[in-house]
């Protein structure tokens, strides 16, 4: 307590809050005065009295000094003095300060921005409480190449719900489109059909009202809805009196019971939440292998994900042991269950690219820090004389380091002050580039974790460019420094060269990475998807099951829409690159169903004209015709991949197959080309099976219109076919294909930016070193020119020095790129990191830039006037 009080008083004293020096000297002189008077009274003469008094008192100055020390914190005071001094010197060296602060600001900003996004994407999820405790239940069919189904069945969901000792909460979701009716125009919104514990699993709280009760999550219960914050804003202008009012979804009234805080609506995604209300029939054992529920569960505290996985394995084993005989082929398909952390489930494939970006931005930071270190060294070199004099006058090494360190501290603080707003800007830009479908739920955000990260990198960078040069500078012997004034100080120049070589190497690594990504991207753009997206517009329609409860009603709707559209138009259950593709099993007539070979295919229901509209080539036989209806023979079209898989070397036309669970056999009438379904980089492992739209009733009440007509025409065709209908998710097929590359485009863009920045910083570093070397060699150059050396020779020798550094940097960079190759090879498509062309281009750019950076100082050297140089 006493101690704290003293420290506080000292801090105040150090800041000059109490008692200025004048008061102290007044007090002391009074004391001496009193002593003198005492002596005078004792009979001494005035002079002798004063002399004795001074002797009695002791040295005035050292008393002063002692008091000053007692009053403040001497070390801190000295450092504050250093800070003020550093501030003044930096203010004088504007160019230097500006360069350093900009470099640091950009590096810190970029690192903070990328880290904030990576942190959000990989470790935290927006709106979700304790994401590390949430798992997503998954299923796996090894033999079908279905590694991760992403969804589970009703019985599996029931099993999870029952195991309260493992899972605190569990909930399931089905996304659907709903039509918001009752307004001026019907409007499509995204509804998340969730079971009652959904909000508990995610730890999300309502902003107004409440969420669903277990009773409301029953079939035929009263219709209730929870609005997202955005929907509440859009529909009701954030009217707080919204509770208990109703909205109309698909012509049916739903009572609003709550409004959620903004946050979790990206999972689903959801404009509104409605109860899932699964019927008891969804939980019967026959439903075991019918997967359609996105299931999440929150682990009990203390239960690890490994334990959850073990639980799933056990469940799968129990299910298989008691599997009915007709499910034997499931057993043969190597079926099992497992869990995935929520973060993994939501982020998925973007993990590696995110880490690559994080690594790259770290490289930028390294380059920036070495650049600044180089500049600091140059500055110290320029001040070597001044420092030497200080050392000669007895400045301690600590004190000299503290001088230089104070400078770094100010630069660091300024760099951070610039970096944080830059990070904000960077996040905004990144968010515009981020593909929404691949990385949902990101926001511009500074959280404690991100700021902590920034603090760590700032400290690291500060150490690198502050402490190291400070140490080196303060160690120089004063005599050497004073003697060598005007000539090169080789040790430090070598250090700067090392830094520049490192920068060049790192820049090369980033350029090679960006180059491979670029080449990979253009290779992807060259991939033929198997159809011609040019000119095809697509739009989704949904038709509520309540009104379209029979095949006839659906077919009439399709016909009525297609009659209003030009010939190259079609309706299908889905189009490529749109998602929503189904997969199904089938059996082949004449082949035993349970032979252990899973017959599985991507399934699509299409109207006649689909293949023509999308430009999918016909290889054999015919496609669907208008005459293929419910009354005629059941027909199917397969693609060449399916033909090769199940009828190798045969003509499949005329063969028959039967979809699992249906009584009728379908005759194959044609074979068409295989199309890429979801991405250009890889084919679906399965072939595609097409059924005629007019021979089936779609279970999900949604279809896609694909036409060479403009979007407006499609919409008017749909609304005139049914006034309660409208189109949504309208996008040209070409744009859908391009969207599939969005993730890669994002990484490519960011990585290219990084490579450019790295190259620029490395060039700056090189320029600094070479131009300093030139200024040091002015005398030498002057002598050589006076002796008749042509200016080309001078230019060549300076250029040579720059390029020599670049060559060493390149060699090291290539070695480093080998390490990088492993990290990003998985992100590349038909391109290798160590591709001659790629490497050659990167090296060439590097050398051109290096040559430019050393050419400027070289020309300056050549322009040296021998007479002035020698004077």
């Amino acid at each position: 307590m006493k101690y704290l009080r003293r420290v506080w008083a000292k801090v105040l004293g150090g800041l000059g809050v109490h008692r200025p020096d004048g008061e102290l000297s007044e007090e002391l002189s009074t004391h001496v005065e009193l002593l003198t008077e005492e002596n005078v009274r004792a009979g001494m003469n005035r002079t002798e009295a004063r002399r004795q008094a001074c002797l009695r008192f002791g040295a005035l100055t050292s008393t002063h000094e002692a008091c000053r020390e007692q009053r403040g914190l001497p070390r801190i005071e000295a450092f504050m003095q250093d800070l003020r001094h550093a501030g003044r010197t930096l203010g004088n060296a504007r160019g230097f300060t500006l360069t350093v602060v900009l470099t640091l600001g950009v590096a810190i900003g970029a690192n903070t921005a990328i880290f904030s996004l990576v942190n959000q994407a990989l470790f935290q999820l927006r709106g979700v409480d304790q994401p590390e405790r949430i798992v997503s239940a998954r299923e796996h069919y090894g033999k079908l190449n279905l590694d991760d189904l992403g969804v589970t069945s009703g019985p599996a969901f029931a099993d999870i719900l029952r195991s309260r000792d493992v899972f605190e909460h569990a909930a399931a979701l089905i996304s659907s489109y709903r039509t918001l009716t009752g307004g001026a125009e019907p409007e499509h919104i995204q509804a998340a059909n969730v079971s009652s514990e959904w909000f508990e699993v995610l730890g999300a709280k309502p902003y107004l009202g409440r969420t669903f009760t277990a009773e409301e999550d029953q079939p035929n219960a009263s219709r209730v809805v929870v609005l997202s914050y955005a929907t509440w804003d859009k529909l009701f202008g954030r009217d707080p009196a919204v509770l208990n009012r109703t909205i109309e979804l698909d012509l049916q009234p739903y009572k609003i019971i709550g409004v959620m805080k903004p946050g979790i609506e990206w999972i689903g995604p959801a404009d509104v939440w409605v109860p899932l209300a699964l019927a008891p029939a969804a939980f019967v054992p026959q439903e075991r292998f019918h997967e359609y529920l996105f299931t999440l569960a929150k682990l009990r505290p203390g239960v690890s994900q490994e334990q959850a996985n073990a639980w799933f394995k056990l469940l799968a084993a129990r299910v298989l042991a008691s599997a009915p005989p007709d499910a034997k082929d499931i057993v043969a398909m190597d079926w099992t269950m497992f869990s995935k952390s929520l973060t993994r489930a939501m982020v998925g494939d973007t993990r590696t690219p995110m880490l690559v970006l994080l690594g790259s931005v770290g490289i930028i930071l390294l380059i920036a820090a070495s650049n600044v270190a180089g500049l600091m060294l140059a500055r110290i070199q320029a001040r070597a004389h001044e420092l030497a004099i200080q050392a000669a006058l007895g400045a301690s090494r600590g004190r000299m380091m503290s001088r230089i360190f104070a400078e770094s501290l100010i630069l660091m603080a300024l760099g951070t002050a610039l970096g944080l707003p830059l990070a904000y800007l960077g996040m905004k830009i990144l968010l515009q580039w981020v593909p929404q479908n691949a990385l949902p739920g990101l926001a511009v955000r500074y959280d404690t974790f991100t700021l902590g990260f920034t603090a760590v990198i700032v400290a690291l960078a500060g150490f690198l460019f502050g402490a190291v040069p400070a140490w080196m500078a303060s160690g120089a012997s004063p005599i050497g420094a004073m003697r060598s004034e005007g000539r090169t100080v080789t040790g430090r120049q070598r250090m700067r060269s090392v830094l520049v070589v490192a920068e060049t190497a790192l820049a090369l690594v980033l350029m090679v990475a960006a180059g491979s990504l670029l080449r990979s991207f253009s290779a992807l753009e060259q991939v033929q998807p198997g159809f011609e997206p040019g000119g095809v517009m697509t739009a989704s329609v949904s038709f509520p099951a309540a009104r379209y409860d029979s095949g006839e009603k659906q077919w009439a709707f399709y016909r009525s829409v297609l009659d209003r559209l030009p010939p190259k138009s079609a309706i299908a259950s889905s189009v490529p690159f749109q998602g929503g593709l189904n997969a199904g099993s089938f059996e082949v007539r004449g082949v035993p169903a349970n032979d252990g070979n899973g017959r599985h295919a991507d399934v699509r229901f299409v109207s006649p004209g689909f293949f023509e509209a999308l430009g999918i080539p016909v290889r054999n036989g015919r496609t669907f015709a208008r005459s293929d209806t419910a009354e005629s023979e059941r027909v199917a079209v397969i693609d060449e991949k399916l033909a090769k898989q199940f009828w190798p070397g045969e003509n499949p036309v005329g063969k028959q197959l039967r979809p699992a669970g249906l009584p009728e056999w379908f005759t194959i009438v044609g074979v068409v080309g295989h199309v890429r379904q979801a991405e250009l980089a890889s084919e679906s492992p399965r072939g595609t099976l097409y059924y005629s739209l007019y021979q089936a009733r779609l279970r999900m009440s949604m279809a896609v219109v694909a036409s060479h007509a403009p979007a407006d025409l499609i919409r008017s065709a749909v609304t005139s076919a049914d006034p309660a209908e409208s189109t949504f998710d309208v996008e040209s097929l070409g744009a859908r294909v391009a969207d599939s590359l969005a993730s890669r485009r994002f990484v490519l863009r960011v990585e290219s930016c990084f490579a450019t920045v790295a190259l620029f910083l490395a060039a700056l570093g090189l320029y600094g070193v070479i131009s300093y070397a030139v200024s040091q060699r002015t005398r030498e150059v002057g002598i050589r020119m006076a002796l008749g050396a042509p200016s080309q020779t001078i230019i060549r020798s300076v250029l040579g020095e720059g390029l020599r550094l670049a060559v060493i940097g390149t060699a090291i960079g290539l070695a480093a790129a080998a390490g990088l190759a492993r990290a990003i090879e998985s992100q590349l498509f038909r391109v290798r990191v160590f591709d001659t062309e790629n490497i050659a281009v990167a090296i060439m750019i590097l050398f051109v830039v290096a040559a430019l950076a050393s050419l400027l100082p070289a020309r300056r050297a050549a322009a040296v006037d021998p007479i002035t140089a020698l004077r």
């Binding site: 009080r5 002391l28 008393t63």
Partner: protein, 100 residues
């Protein structure tokens, strides 16, 4: 000693304190008066003493120090500790006397 002096004599300036200490110790503790000031500053920072400007005997401005409540407490504790130490050391030496 500074605290005791202030406790007994009431408010004093530096000169007074130095004189008093010299007198009490019978000039055995003849210190440089200057060394007193850092001590005063430390005590002031600790809150044991307070100071004000006033007029000295020769009508000059001088800082008068007086003991605070905190300082009295400290003084009492200090006294007790010292007497305790003195007692123990005293007994220790008495023990040696007896044995001899």
């Amino acid at each position: 000693m500074v605290l005791k002096t202030l406790d007994v004599m009431g408010p004093q300036h530096g000169y007074g304190i130095a004189k008093r200490i010299e007198q009490t110790s019978g000039d055995a503790l003849a210190i440089n008066h200057g060394t007193l000031y850092p001590v005063l500053l430390k005590l002031e920072q600790e809150g044991a003493i307070e100071a004000d400007w006033g007029a000295s005997e020769n009508n000059r401005r001088a800082r008068f120090y007086r003991i605070s409540k905190e300082g009295r407490k400290q003084l009492r504790a200090e006294e007790r500790r010292w007497q305790e130490t003195a007692r123990i050391v005293g007994e220790f030496f008495a023990l040696g006397e007896q044995r001899r």
